[in-house]
Structures are given as structure tokens and as C-alpha cells.
């Protein structure tokens, strides 16, 4: 699979899902979508599609929607979507022309907020609330991206052969958690704690998780020094570690 395709899958399935957490944890975003009752479909030719379902002050991001979308944003190619994420292209609205006001005025305010949290700097990370939200998003992005890379990235595909029957959970001690399970020929990612995880990578604190996930700390040092705890099938953690490092190759 080519770079643009994988990158677009990461944008669709690993980045956009962060809106769920954004509207849950960020007061500004929460206020923005309070009265939204709308379904937006992102459809990318030869890459896939995803629905952003806003209702009752919440957002859920799914590959399938129980209802038809109100707006369809079409992208002619994976590269087209990637350009939009770089701010260099616009989607083609296939449905919802009457909602142009929403698309051009309201929705961009939400994506700006998403961008604010996904592009940290040292100053922003000093804020406790910011670092918490950024860490939740980075943690979730990592495992949703891991799924895509295990399915499509050449090194990920190799690693996928070593994690048959796996269930790996990553969490912050007494904090956010996310886990990935191998199911049949694919993987499923779930936010929250697994009941009986088979492999665990636990960060001692939000700060450690943030440093680790942003490549400021190597895994071996972090684990040996006790900043990060691993247990269970650590061979699976070992197998996916180089794959997780590849997320930055696509999303940095």
C-alpha cells in the first residue's frame, strides 16, 4: 500500500475519532456542538469512509451510521484528504449544499479546536488540562493508527503475524485507557479498560505518557526505570513497538 493511502486511513480512522473526546473533555468544543444534530460523512475514494454523528451534545465516530448522513464530504483520492488535513485543499460537498453555512462557519471552529489539541508545544503542555486532553488524544490516536498500520503498513503487516490472538491495553495509571484486540483478519480498538487484558503497558502519569508517546523517552529506558510498567504477553508489546513508532512517519 502506498504512503498516501495509509496516511489517509490514519486521518480518517485515527485522527477524526479524537472529536469524540474533544467534545467530551474540552469545554469550548462541548459548548460548540451542544445543539448539533447532524451526521457528516467523510468519504475518500479508494480509502474508506467515516461518519461523525453529533447528537445530544455528544459525538460518535463510526465506520457505519444508523441513519443517512446530512452532509457528505467527498475526496477524490487519499492524497486529496491528506491535502485537506494540511490545509491545502477543500472537500467536495456531495450532499448538504443547503448546509454550507454550517460547513464554512460552525464546523471549522470545531476542527480548529481539534488542531489546537493535536499540535502541542512546550508552552501549551504546561497547562494541566491541556496535557491531559492531548495525552488522551495521543494515546487513542496511537492505537487507532496501530490498527491501520498492522493492516496496511509493510512493517506493520510483518508485526501483525506475531500478534495473533493478541489483546494489548495501554493506559495511564488511574487514568485513560485504550486497547486493541486481534479479531479474525482484523483488529478492533476500544476506548476504556479491558476486563482481562492479556498484555498491558501502563504509564505512571499523564506527563510520562505524553513524553513516551511523543518520542521524548525510549521504551527500554522508560520500562526499566519503572516510569512505564509492562506485564502479560510482553512479546506483543515488543512486536508492535516499532509499528507505533511509525505513526509519526505518517502524521508528524
Amino acid at each position: 500500500m502506498d504512503y498516501e493511502f495509509i496516511k489517509s486511513r490514519l486521518h480518517l480512522y485515527a485522527v477524526l475519532q479524537n472529536i469524540e473526546d474533544l467534545v467530551q473533555y474540552d469545554d469550548v468544543a462541548k459548548k460548540l456542538i451542544k445543539d448539533w444534530n447532524i451526521i457528516i460523512k467523510f468519504s475518500v475514494r479508494k480509502a474508506g469512509s467515516v461518519y461523525l454523528i453529533f447528537e445530544n451534545g455528544k459525538c460518535t465516530v463510526r465506520e457505519l451510521s444508523p441513519k443517512k448522513p446530512d452532509i457528505i464530504l467527498f475526496f477524490t483520492s487519499p492524497a486529496h484528504l491528506n491535502k485537506m488535513f494540511d490545509g491545502k485543499a477543500n472537500p467536495i460537498p456531495l450532499k448538504g449544499i443547503t448546509k454550507l453555512g454550517f460547513l464554512t462557519k460552525k464546523f471549522p471552529k470545531l476542527t480548529e479546536r481539534l488542531e489546537y489539541y493535536l499540535k502541542p508545544d512546550d508552552q501549551k503542555l504546561k497547562d494541566k488540562n491541556y496535557i491531559t486532553i492531548n495525552t488522551v488524544m495521543t494515546l487513542n490516536t496511537a492505537l487507532y493508527a496501530l490498527k491501520e498500520l498492522l493492516l496496511f503498513d509493510p512493517i506493520g503487516e510483518h508485526a501483525a503475524k506475531k500478534v495473533k490472538g493478541s489483546m494489548v491495553m495501554m493506559n495511564v495509571n488511574k487514568g485513560p485507557a485504550v486497547y486493541i484486540e486481534q479479531k479474525g483478519n482484523t483488529f478492533e480498538v476500544h476506548k476504556g479498560y479491558a476486563q482481562q487484558p492479556l498484555a498491558v503497558l501502563e504509564f505512571n502519569s499523564i506527563k510520562i505518557a505524553n513524553d513516551f508517546l511523543n518520542g521524548k523517552m525510549d521504551a527500554f529506558s522508560a520500562i526499566a526505570s519503572g516510569a512505564v510498567a509492562t506485564k502479560g504477553h510482553i512479546e506483543w508489546l515488543d512486536a508492535v513497538s516499532p509499528v507505533l513508532d511509525r505513526v509519526a512517519l505518517y502524521l508528524s
Binding site: 525510549d218 527500554f220 529506558s221 520500562i223 526499566a224 506485564k231 502479560g232 510482553i234 512479546e235
Partner: protein, 433 residues
């Protein structure tokens, strides 16, 4: 409870006797190390696979016999044996005497010492299939040389190896996906499953006249899974296929070597490889490895240019000769398996009395062990960590090693620790597992 195993009777009191260790100095030194050494302790000595690392010692101070002491002064019965090299016990008197005597005469010199020839003669006399010997430093040096010789001898590129097999750290050995390994490094490697003759036949059929060598360990001992012995007739069929198709048969005896059979592990399993790689057990901790081979490959081996700055050191060769003589005198592989059987069958009984299934696979001299009650391995990891923190050094990954110096007293103490830890875990988890 009582445990009885050939000549040893053991009973455990109802009170826990062992105290747990602390590692303040190890942790402090590790923090210093992190500043100047990548990940503090790199490679297979990294504490990262320990679960949790904080219950293991990071730095050793000294060692003797079957024990080592860490820099916090904690004493351990060592069931990792420096990950294999210690076979007679630390600081073995005959070995160290031979090394010191050679050192007083010369070590790293402008020409090899006489000892190199003496060692080659003794090694080829000991290992049944060996007609010649070539010396290097690490196991990976000689597994790599073996592959080069196979390619030089056949004029072919491809190498068949076993999935999950370990032959060192060169890129082709690590496999694609590991840091720093590119697709081209493994372009000529064909991975097949252990004990799967059909896959080897298919690989030969799919690559006619292209396979230079087949490399595997005598039995399969992956780092994170149970060990597996060869199925009946496996090696004999592999030998037939290699001979039939002109493929060089390479046995990586680096880990098993002299822990199964003093004549080499191929003898133990009843076949004759073309090349065999040795390292860990041949010098009881002194740095040396050896590739041995059949006469038909000697000329090609002579043509492959392969060397290193310290490969002609005489001291490790003297240590190796003394080690091999002692291994032969003791028939150490038989002895280590006897010790291991007594020890681990005893632990198995202790664990069983608490409802824990202590599964031992591979040879008793280097078993892969796990408590199977918890599919996540977490119970096993906790058991190993608690034993280690009481003085029986057990890792929860990788196979363990038993050296010839393990005494009945060591076994008794290990049983006592195992019992204490089982009791602790039973109290903690009840019948959850």
C-alpha cells in the same frame, strides 16, 4: 508439605521464611547509566523484559559457583548463568587457573598462541561431526560465518531458517520489522515453521537450485514460548533433503551446545550436520565462539575472509580447553540434566500442591518454564519476580539455565523460596487461578 526427589527430602513449614530484596544501589546506578549509555543497559541484559524490572537486580558485584551477588549485596542462586555461558559455575578453579597461566605467558599477541591448535584438536575430538574448528568471539559471529560458507560452497543465495529462531543480531538474523533492518537484508531469507518438513519441501520446490543453507537450533527454544523438541525423524528427513538438494545443513548449537550431549547436540538427536556453531558453554564465561565443520567444507571455509581484532586471544582459548576437559570429565550435560530434573520436578510438585501448573519444556539443563494457570502470563511473571526478590533468580521470559555447580543446598533453598511464593500468591489471589 513434603517433596522427595532422588536423594533429597524436603519439608516446608507453614510460616514464610524468606525476606524480599531491595535494589537501591542498582536503581541509582541505572539512573547514572541512562545519561551515558543508550537505554542504560542495552541488548539482552536490558531489564526491560523483567516484570516488573524493579524486582530484579540490574548490576552484579561478584559471583562464585552457582551464585552471584548484586551491588546491593543481595545473593542469588543463578538460574540464568549469564544467559548461558556459565556451565561449570562461576570462577571455576581449573578454568581460571588455565586462563591465568596463559595470561602470564601472553594473550592478545601478534601471532596466535599454540593453544589455538590444541583447542581445535580437542574440540574436533569432542564434537562427533567436527573435522575442523574456526574461532571467533560471539555466537552471532559463527552463525554468520556458517551462512557465508554455505553461500560460498553452493554459489546460492537463499537461507532457510525457523520462524522465532534466534541466531544473533545481524540484520538477516533479526528479521524485517526490527529497528534498523531493511527489506533487502532479509530478501534471501525463507522462514518456515519448526517441525514442518512439508514447508521445507515446499521451499525447496519453490526455489529450485537457490537454497544455500538450512539453519536451525537442535530443538526450538523461542524467547517467549514453550520449547519444542524435534518430532520423530525430523532431523533425519531434514538431513536427507539437504543432501539430496545440495543444501548445507547448519546447526546453531550456541545455546544447547554441551547442555544436551558432550559430543554435540546433533549426536543427541541422531544426525550429522555440515556445520555447527558453538559459543556459550565452551569457555565458562570467557569470550570465545567456534564454528566446526565437516572436511568437505574445509577448503571453502579457508577461502571466506572473516576475522576480528580479538579473535586470537589466547586466554579464552586456554579457558575453553580447560572447560571442555572438565565438561568431559564430569559428563556435564548428563549431570546438568540430572540436577535440573531434580530441581524442577520438585518445584512442579510444590506448585501443584497450591493448584499451580508449573510447565517445563525443553531440556532440564535449559528449560523454558511457565505457570500456565493465567493465560496472560501475569501470574507467572509475578511468581518469577517474587522468587528472584528472595534469592532464586528466575526470569519470566527466555529459557533458564542450570550449571553443574548447583548443589543440593541450592535446590533445597530454591524449593523453600518457591513454596513461600506459592503461598504468598495463593493468599493474594485465592482460587482465582
Amino acid at each position: 508439605m513434603k517433596v522427595e526427589a532422588k536423594g533429597i527430602k524436603y519439608s516446608v513449614s507453614s510460616k514464610s521464611k524468606s525476606k524480599t530484596y531491595t535494589y537501591t544501589k542498582s536503581q541509582k546506578l541505572f539512573q547514572r547509566a541512562l545519561k551515558v549509555i543508550p537505554c542504560g543497559i542495552p541488548g539482552h541484559f536490558s531489564p526491560a523484559p523483567f516484570v516488573p524490572p524493579t524486582m530484579y537486580p540490574f548490576y552484579a558485584e561478584r559471583s562464585k559457583g552457582s551464585h552471584f551477588w548484586d551491588i546491593d549485596g543481595n545473593e542469588f542462586i543463578d538460574y540464568m548463568c549469564a544467559y548461558g555461558p556459565i556451565v561449570l559455575g562461576y570462577n571455576h578453579p581449573q578454568v581460571e587457573k588455565a586462563a591465568q597461566e596463559q595470561n602470564s605467558k601472553g594473550n592478545c599477541m601478534t601471532a596466535p598462541g599454540k593453544i589455538m591448535v590444541e583447542l581445535a584438536e580437542y574440540l574436533t575430538d569432542t564434537i562427533a561431526m567436527a573435522d575442523w574448528a574456526f574461532f571467533a568471539k560471539n555466537g552471532g559471529d559463527v552463525t554468520n560465518l556458517a551462512v557465508m560458507i554455505a553461500r560460498a560452497a553452493t554459489g546460492r543465495k537463499k537461507i532457510v531458517m525457523i520462524k522465532g529462531g534466534y541466531h544473533g543480531v545481524a540484520p538477516w538474523m533479526q528479521g524485517y520489522g526490527h529497528y534498523g533492518v531493511i527489506e533487502e537484508d532479509v530478501a534471501n531469507i525463507i522462514d518456515i515453521e519448526w517441525n514442518n518438513i512439508k514447508q521445507f519441501e515446499e521451499a525447496i520446490a519453490a526455489n529450485p537450485g537457490a537454497i544455500a543453507g538450512f539453519i536451525a537450533t537442535p530443538y526450538h527454544h523461542p524467547t517467549f514460548a514453550d520449547s519444542e523438541f524435534p518430532a520423530d525423524g525430523y532431523w533425519q528427513r531434514i538431513r536427507e533433503l539437504c543432501t539430496q538438494h545440495g543444501i548445507v545443513l547448519i546447526i546453531d548449537d550456541v545455546r544447547c551446545g554441551f547442555r544436551l550431549d558432550i559430543r554435540g547436540s546433533a549426536e543427541y538427536f541422531g544426525f550429522k550436520p555440515d556445520l555447527a556453531c558453538y559459543c556459550k558453554a565452551i569457555a565458562n564465561g570467557h569470550p570465545i565462539s567456534a564454528l566446526v565443520g565437516v572436511d568437505a567444507l574445509k577448503t571453502v571455509a579457508a577461502k571466506v575472509f572473516y576475522t576480528g581484532s580479538y579473535w586470537y586471544q589466547a586466554v579464552p582459548m586456554a579457558a575453553s580447553l580447560a572447560t571442555l576437559k572438565e565438561l568431559r570429565r564430569l559428563n556435564a550435560p548428563v549431570l546438568m540434566n540430572k540436577i535440573g530434573k531434580k530441581l524442577f520436578e520438585g518445584v512442579k510438585k510444590i506448585c501443584a500442591s497450591y493448584g499451580y501448573d508449573f510447565k517445563v519444556t525443553g531440556a532440564y539443563s535449559m528449560p523454558y518454564v511457565r505457570i500456565t494457570n493465567d493465560p496472560s502470563n501475569m501470574l507467572h511473571q509475578e511468581w518469577c519476580a517474587e522468587c528472584t526478590a528472595r534469592g532464586a533468580y528466575f526470569t519470566s521470559h527466555h529459557n533458564w539455565f542450570v550449571c553443574a555447580a548447583v548443589s543440593d543446598k541450592d535446590i533445597q533453598k530454591t524449593w523453600s523460596i518457591a513454596d513461600d511464593v506459592c503461598k504468598l500468591l495463593k493468599k493474594k489471589y485465592g482460587d482465582k487461578f
